[in-house]
């Protein structure tokens, strides 16, 4: 544990996990909003929207996140000159958030769509029978019930997102995995404690989060 008594090293550790936290939060919000919109598109009566949603899911779900993040940096930023802010670290952060959001949104969309499938057909039929429009049926009747059914899968997606945010390190952000790599290279005699601290931080946060979502899912499940 000597490694972490050095304030400089402790700083590297803390900054690394702060980046992970920020990436997870920003990417989570982006993915959730985008995912719900995509799911609504995929069940809508307009064929163009359905096609767009399907194409999005098939493209981004089957492409490695590493390639997407790589593309965000080398394609979007270096080649096409797309940048969000001037500060390099912050710009990399936002490019990472874009990559994480478009990738994770595909999974959120599929989760919500499978949640819509758990809502009995009678619910939507009843809504239509009293004259609700598609938007009303979806937002007032179906999505609230679907949302409660997909708490657990959304939880898994959030956890996966948190772990995936380490990949943004590829484009130079000093997030936890890069921080660990640097500490290992500088302190070859304390490799195992360094790994255990970094991996342990993820495990201590994410394992209870997983069980927490399971508990929440049980509590909020629509009892049928």
């Amino acid at each position: 544990m000597d490694v972490f008594s050095d304030p400089l090293n402790r700083d590297v550790y803390i900054t690394g996990f702060l980046w992970i936290l920020k990436l997870t939060l920003a990417g989570g919000v982006g993915a959730l909003v985008l995912g719900v919109v995509l799911a609504a598109m995929r069940v809508s009566p307009v064929p163009v929207l359905r096609g767009f949603g399907t194409a999005w899911v098939n493209i981004f779900r089957n492409t490695p996140l590493t390639l997407i993040i790589f593309f965000c940096y080398f394609g979007l930023f270096s080649t096409l000159g797309f940048s969000v802010v001037d500060d390099i670290d912050l710009n990399n952060f936002w490019l990472g958030v874009i990559g994480l959001s478009v990738y994770t949104a595909a999974f959120v969309c599929e989760a919500i769509r499978s949640g819509i499938n758990t809502v009995p057909a009678g619910q939507a039929e009843a809504a239509r029978a009293i004259g609700m429009t598609f938007i009303q049926t979806l937002t007032i009747i179906v999505l609230p019930q679907a949302g409660r059914a997909v708490i657990a899968p959304l939880g898994s997606i959030l956890i996966a997102l948190c772990k995936n945010s380490t990949i943004v390190g590829t484009i130079g952000l000093m997030e936890s995995s890069n921080a660990m790599k640097d500490l290992i290279n500088a302190n070859g005699n304390a490799v195992i404690p360094i790994f255990l601290v970094f991996a342990g931080t993820f495990a201590i946060v994410l394992i209870p989060t997983g069980y927490g979502f399971g508990w929440l899912a049980n509590r909020l499940a629509v009892k049928r």
Binding site: V43, V48, G75, R128, A199
Partner: protein, 295 residues
């Protein structure tokens, strides 16, 4: 609930007109988006023939893309076999009657599911050589990382599958005098594997995508050779990334298609245990650290 035409009525004349308007509006919006991308490419000269032409050269494919794909598929294939073995072993371990097997197996599975794969690969590739004092092969660093993570996720899938096998199956097996290990290997695991086939195959798709992490520790896979090295020669990062993405999408779509075909086939022949549908549902909906798409 089937999503087709349950959420909205069969369109009448008014709805048809409205849908047509919406189709045109959103169709134009999508075209606008495509045009924006096109003009953005155009502005930066990304449609230049010299950037796309390399993909018509034989050497581009034989020197970069195919060897890269080979690296990806090699690592994926070895890791698939190893993680299936790992998954079965640890699922059985977690179901053991002895606490000194059950608890460590459970701890290992939970730990490796919670740790980001990249962190694990960094540790294996950069950290382990400090301990063993000899260099680590990149190939095995990638495969080992993939195995530990995906094996742990598969262990949970197998476990859920074993729970999905009706109790009567193991009771009957014990009644005809089978030993505990025989019940597991002859009765439970085969049925569990069949019930969880869709989950297992979709995890294998995750595994194929995760091989791209090997790029970060410079393992010669598709992203490394087909995008990084290729574009170093021709300056066509964007184009190379698009081609590589297409290859990944094709490979994974084939795997997904196989998964769908397998699950339809199992269902049709009525081979899956009765509770399998519910268990698959349970496993996909079950909270946990796996799933959710990996990397």
């Amino acid at each position: 609930m089937s999503t087709d035409a349950v959420l909205y009525d069969h369109p009448g004349p008014k709805a048809k007109a409205r849908n047509l308007v919406l189709t045109i509006v959103f169709g134009l919006a999508v075209l606008g988006l495509l045009y924006w991308i096109y003009s953005r490419f155009d502005e930066k000269g990304q449609w230049a023939g010299s950037l796309w032409k390399p993909f018509t050269y034989g050497s581009t494919w034989t020197d970069y893309i195919l060897p890269g794909l080979q690296g990806t598929l090699q690592a994926a294939a070895v890791a698939m076999v190893l993680s299936l073995v790992f998954g079965v072993l640890f699922a059985v371990g977690r179901l053991s009657d002895h606490w000194w097997v059950r608890l460590p197996a459970g701890a290992i599975v939970e730990f490796f599911r919670a740790v980001p794969l990249l962190l694990l690969m960094f540790f294996i590739f950069f950290g382990v050589p400090f301990i063993t004092e000899q260099p680590m092969s990149i190939f095995w660093a990638v495969v080992l990382g993939l195995t530990l993570y995906n094996g742990s996720v598969l262990a949970e899938a197998f476990r859920a599958g074993v729970y999905s096998v009706p109790r009567g199956q193991s009771e009957a097996a014990y009644a005809v005098g089978m030993r505990k290990s025989q019940v597991m290997t002859h009765i439970l695991i085969p049925q569990a594997a069949r019930a969880m086939l869709p989950v297992i195959v979709s995890q294998l798709v995750v595994l194929v995508k995760d091989t791209a992490l090997g790029y970060i520790i410079s393992y010669s896979e598709l992203l490394q050779l087909g995008v990084n090295n290729l574009s170093a020669n021709y300056g066509n990062v964007l184009q190379a990334a698009i081609v590589a993405a297409a290859i990944y999408i094709i490979v994974n779509s084939i795997l997904t298609g196989v998964a769908g075909w397998l699950s339809r086939r199992t269902r049709r022949k009525g081979r899956a245990p009765r509770a399998a549908g519910a268990a698959t549902q349970q496993a996909t909906i079950e909270p946990g650290l796996g799933g959710g798409g990996g990397a």
